[in-house]
Symmetry: C2
Amino acid sequence: MARSGAATIVDVARLAGVSPAAVSKVIRGAYGVSPSMRERVEAAIEQLAYRPRVAARAMRGSTFSIGIELPHPGYHFFTTILQGATAALGHTRYQPIVVPTATEAERDGRALDLLADRQVDGIVAVSPLVSPDRLERLAARIPVVLLGRHDRTASYDTVTGDDVEGTRQVMKHLLGLGHRRIAYLVQEGQAAMPGIRTPQETRMEQYLEHMHRAGLGAAARVVRTVDGDVVPESAVEALLAPERPTAILVGRHELALEMLQAVTARGLDVSVAGYDDTCLAGHPAISLTCVDQDGVEMGAKAIRLLLERIGGRTEAAHLTVEPTLKARASTRPVR
Amino acid sequence: MARSGAATIVDVARLAGVSPAAVSKVIRGAYGVSPSMRERVEAAIEQLAYRPRVAARAMRGSTFSIGIELPHPGYHFFTTILQGATAALGHTRYQPIVVPTATEAERDGRALDLLADRQVDGIVAVSPLVSPDRLERLAARIPVVLLGRHDRTASYDTVTGDDVEGTRQVMKHLLGLGHRRIAYLVQEGQAAMPGIRTPQETRMEQYLEHMHRAGLGAAARVVRTVDGDVVPESAVEALLAPERPTAILVGRHELALEMLQAVTARGLDVSVAGYDDTCLAGHPAISLTCVDQDGVEMGAKAIRLLLERIGGRTEAAHLTVEPTLKARASTRPVR
DNA sequence: TTGAAAGCGCTAACAA
DNA sequence: TTGTTAGCGCTTTCAA
């Protein structure tokens, strides 16, 4: 019953006294329409408040939509990417449609299937937990750009932050401040998928690598926390006792803020650094040191790659966005 | 060319040795299918990795999708609503599809049209800047739930925070702390649409009302800032000089955090309170007093109303969610 | 420059 | 219980 009474292309054609095919041409701005006909058709469209159905269009042509798989809409960094992507789509014919995934479990690719079922013209997937195999099969049918994944195949494009460089910067910063017992907090699930190189995984590996190179392999300590928005008390305890670190590096922004809170609440002199920046990290009362990634640029780049692919490019492209260390008061020289 | 080689219902039917209609019935779980046929069809679906196109389905039946118009994905409160809505949709047959709107200008209803063009089965619109007229026309075709708008019509349902009560609570709190010169910061565009009762507008009116009732009508001061994420220096100046208020009430969370920052940076003893809560407001280093609205519940309620409408309810429903004042350190007794 | 006709993949009546 | 049939609203050859 939805749209029951709504005008169709046939109604418009009838009112304008032309064929449906002619209306279709006007709508699409296709070649070979006389100005007088265009005018009459446009008047009829206006009068009937006609809008083409995406579904009917999809049956033959293109939907002119770009699907965006967006994990954890509550995480600031991801919405930043969305903003960049949406803005980049601004003046194209393409519309963004977003399928949110709330839990790690949902990032298994079902959202990508849903987008494919909608016959979107391209897909931006934000570090999905899907095997390269499956992504290649998808990319064979629809252009796909992966955000944040470090795997490189010929079938899909990627945009990644330089996690090696980012981790290098923050580790250099911490080591330079004299820290030796540096611990690492990572969120379970993000680093645990075999065959997939997530940012989380890369950063953790690099942390271990830097500890090792600094001769601190024995002091390295990785604490894993569950999926979710809070750092459970047990993880905090595991992190802060008994050989308490002087600095903690955290794999995700929101958790870094939590850790900072936990440390502050306990009155401890433990430095905390994280990944990704928000205006809140820069708030003087918080002042969290972090590796800033330009999410807006990443989103915009992803769209650019997608449009290029839709436009016909066939060889794969892999873009990297350089992170910047924002050193703030949450990291201090070790006493 | 997208999906070019993908299997259709005819392919499945052929492989299973049945009619396309039979496959359709199996897919939809429709009545009157023998177990043996179901089994064969399911095997064929599996083998061909068949997935029904949403578009083809939409041509006759339902798309089983709920459209969500989401303004400002970067604002925490809005993503909270999205989370509630997505979770509520979790175990239904319906899928959420989100169309983000980035600027105030985009909230004029074009996103709603895009969703209607996709023949979604229902629409959740988060305080869109669209006239009741136009919404009624839309709601005549598709069930619509408005979030945050205070207009009440018979054609669409609404879910709103109790902004009268919320403002009452925070004003009572500030007045109780001895504040008399209380200023109000509101974002331009949000309160300026004729005929539409946005939360922003209601809150501002209530602020004025409470000032008036407290005999402080002359001390009331409303400063408007432009659309965007920052409070421009000029607005800060306008707010803090020359008859500096002892407290500032801010219409939107992100701006409240900014104001708090500006006040702190200047070392002034000015209380700041806002609307909406985040974990960051509760961070001990920030400790921003605010009126907390349960966004998750609002999102969930919106979906519930929508499903009821889809299920056949015809009379309008208007739900209210009660806010809670979270009094924190950013508001102190006036010296 | 315009129109007629075919068909995209699916569902819903209706027949068998 | 199963299959046949007739579209849904649009785009796209191909003729006129």
